[in-house]
Subunit: 292 residues, 4 copies
Amino acid sequence: MFKGTATALITPFNKEKELDIKNFEKLINDQIENNINALVILGTTGESPTINEKEKYEIIKKAIEITNKKIPIIVGTGSNDTKKILKNNKIAEELNADGLLIVTPYYNKTTQNGLYENYKYISQNTKLPIVLYNVPSRTGLNIEPKTTIKLLKNIENIIGIKEASGNISQINKILNEKPKNKYLYSGNDDQIIPIMANGGDGVISVISNLIPKQISKMTENILQKKYEEALEINNKYLNLMNMMFEEVNPIPIKYAMSLKYKTENTLRLPLISVTKELEEKIKKEMKRVEII
Amino acid sequence: MFKGTATALITPFNKEKELDIKNFEKLINDQIENNINALVILGTTGESPTINEKEKYEIIKKAIEITNKKIPIIVGTGSNDTKKILKNNKIAEELNADGLLIVTPYYNKTTQNGLYENYKYISQNTKLPIVLYNVPSRTGLNIEPKTTIKLLKNIENIIGIKEASGNISQINKILNEKPKNKYLYSGNDDQIIPIMANGGDGVISVISNLIPKQISKMTENILQKKYEEALEINNKYLNLMNMMFEEVNPIPIKYAMSLKYKTENTLRLPLISVTKELEEKIKKEMKRVEII
Amino acid sequence: MFKGTATALITPFNKEKELDIKNFEKLINDQIENNINALVILGTTGESPTINEKEKYEIIKKAIEITNKKIPIIVGTGSNDTKKILKNNKIAEELNADGLLIVTPYYNKTTQNGLYENYKYISQNTKLPIVLYNVPSRTGLNIEPKTTIKLLKNIENIIGIKEASGNISQINKILNEKPKNKYLYSGNDDQIIPIMANGGDGVISVISNLIPKQISKMTENILQKKYEEALEINNKYLNLMNMMFEEVNPIPIKYAMSLKYKTENTLRLPLISVTKELEEKIKKEMKRVEII
Amino acid sequence: MFKGTATALITPFNKEKELDIKNFEKLINDQIENNINALVILGTTGESPTINEKEKYEIIKKAIEITNKKIPIIVGTGSNDTKKILKNNKIAEELNADGLLIVTPYYNKTTQNGLYENYKYISQNTKLPIVLYNVPSRTGLNIEPKTTIKLLKNIENIIGIKEASGNISQINKILNEKPKNKYLYSGNDDQIIPIMANGGDGVISVISNLIPKQISKMTENILQKKYEEALEINNKYLNLMNMMFEEVNPIPIKYAMSLKYKTENTLRLPLISVTKELEEKIKKEMKRVEII
């Protein structure tokens, strides 16, 4: 699908919390100019749970139009209702998306066998390549390495996994046993170097919304075995990466984006804006690293 | 709302995984005959994430019709999209439900302040009484006691909480500080006695789908301070209660119900049927305690 | 061994951090006068890891002398070196103690089979009754219910367990399956009611150092099925109980004791005295509940 | 102190569970011949909790004699009684050891302030360089990055940390903020590459008891930025590394060593020998990777 950095793009809203397509376009162009390798739209960072069907259609359509196949567009189509995933996938296919990011069932959850059966069924009903998404801190459910390996080995159009468990030992196991032609992406910005050093292919990033040039350079460095240069970038922005998770993502990134890109700092319930305390910290750190 | 036992009712499907309203009716009548104090429909146990809008309408309507106000009907209307909760609540209101069970945001999650703002906004848009639902193992998010207390104290139509954190120390804190006229229900069948001994008001139960008479008797005993009688019931059925959580709920209960009530053992993806190993264990234990 | 409340007694030091036997005597007498059912000496609360062999001998000897068989003296003899446990047990036997409290191996840990073999070996080398002690937050090792039950069933002089896992579901399982003549004690002061309601026999308590009369009354109430009276005591002192664990026990209790009993607030490294912030909170709360 | 691989050496016992100094000597010589960069004796892997004072003296003396300053000898002197640490340190100094590995307090634990005060006091009482050891799964206590950084910054003879928390995000923070002249070593064999790629200096290893040549080569490769060669070694031995932790370390390594080096597979209580099931798995895997 891609090697390097994909951005899990935010969805900008205006003051009335309506879709702000103009800024969405501006952000995508900025991402492309700064050498991002792929875009993930309608992910968690894109607030997909609170975006309605009509808006989703518009977002996918627009993203594909703007990028114009210069870089792959991966659409987050996950749901805890498998029927809805199939519907979402149909739309992504129709609109000519390049791939699907499908999170495990959350809240209702399922068993390890259920995970396998569920992803198998989904994969049989789409032609698009699928990236699995494992994020137990949000879903209450971990895809165990055995299940991941089985899915990556047996199902052709499951082409990779975004691993956001944070569990390096688990990720190391997967990297060791997965087929060479399947991808593993870090789902945590502060684990890009460890995971890629262990054989990972890149990152699906939050912080690259804000600093696309730096993060794409960082993964490029790693792919070229320039670990010291990569570590320098990592260390410069590590505090900021961590701040993006001091309150639930995408609360902090939405504020940070508003400072740099003049988008509105608005989110839809159940999410609310960042606290004043974290606002201050973020602004100060962004000045320190000369983003603003 | 109620004291004692509410059943988080399963939603029976037929072999084709369509709604089986006939058995739904049969189960509700069985629950009423066996002295259940309230019914929760469209909860997690009721597989709400994979039930569509039309079906939800039918389920609520039917439940209210059948129970005919003999016992309260509480409708699970939670979602991680606040707008959808408001829509769900409207329907429950129209159909004359008695209360709402609203789980915290899951997957997208929110902050503690976000929880407060979200529930406040929801409560301002309905006249029905709301029971909060805290189940961090599914949502990745814990309502901290401070937030629970603030919600129960400040918002009139938030009338209680279903606590399924399993954290007795946390639950003890809430019970100590909550207003006397607000309710706390156990969300774990194996913690009914500890929570009620600490001042809790009852349980929203899974196992009472299968043994309504015994569980309603158990909570009645506790309310009458007959702890020894309650403990006897608890100890008789504890193994079975635990088996209902050896695979993700409602997978095991749906199998157990099929044995006793001849409902179909069918679930919708991402959930799948119980493994053969657990089937055997459940059947054997149900025979041992003479349910079948 | 006992039903009701045992105090895990602190070891008072003077300003020079030497053993303060005079105050030790005073505290024991106060405990007896206030109807405590048993005393545990040289437990974690008694700072046993930093008390030398000579001091341990003196402490055991003195405690047995003072109590003069009015209430049982249980000696903490646990170690992660089994040979040392055997030595400690010999001394306790010689000095005529009534029982032994033996924590699981910590730091080096062991397997579930290792736990069984270890306790079996220990029990074969002493005539004294043994109380197991499970506290995974300190040891990094949980005694699984299966192992606990096997030990309680098969080994005669293993007469009970102090359960401080905080896991009520686990404790409920043990209570359901253990032999009737074996004991289960709560190791958490805020879980006395839940555990005893589920069939537990009492508590080995920290807070009863400070309020022996109230806690022994509370467990007495529960044993007499007066749950409401017990809950009233629990609720009055719950904040204070919780404060005793805001910094590592016995740091806060040692400060609280210094306020009420005029003992020195001194601990031996690696432990240090309570922070000023918690000092203030404790003092204020002790005034509110009229201890000082 | 060192860069690359230090082995946390096992302590061989004979059939009677007495110190087997002859094999100890043989193992050390094998380690030196295979380019190990340093040796840690009397660590957890060396079963220090069950080795008496006399044996400890002999072990330190012998190790220093045999290595004869070709590589540094680091002595595990940690205890949860600070006085004992000081005594242990004196002996290590007298016998001319090169450094000390000092684990945080375990079981009695302490606060973050307590950690700082404790290590400060210890460091003021020895001239030897100290490596901190953080292993929360054994101690129940995490050294938070803030405390680690404060210790590494303020105290000269605290020269590094062995980080076995497994928490890569935490380790990344420390690596980013620690003084350049202080060391961070991985305490987990399956995290060598991730940690060193992030700026770590090497590993204190269990598996290098068994395959010293391969692990020292692996860290050498990383230090020379030959990540692919390192990853190849990692991937070949990853299964075996993981097996060493399927039962509590050093249970499995002691069995593996008996197969390759003909040492006795004996451990002292509370530890017991590996189960038959894991024996079979280890033997099979050792054959697969051609160790035996």
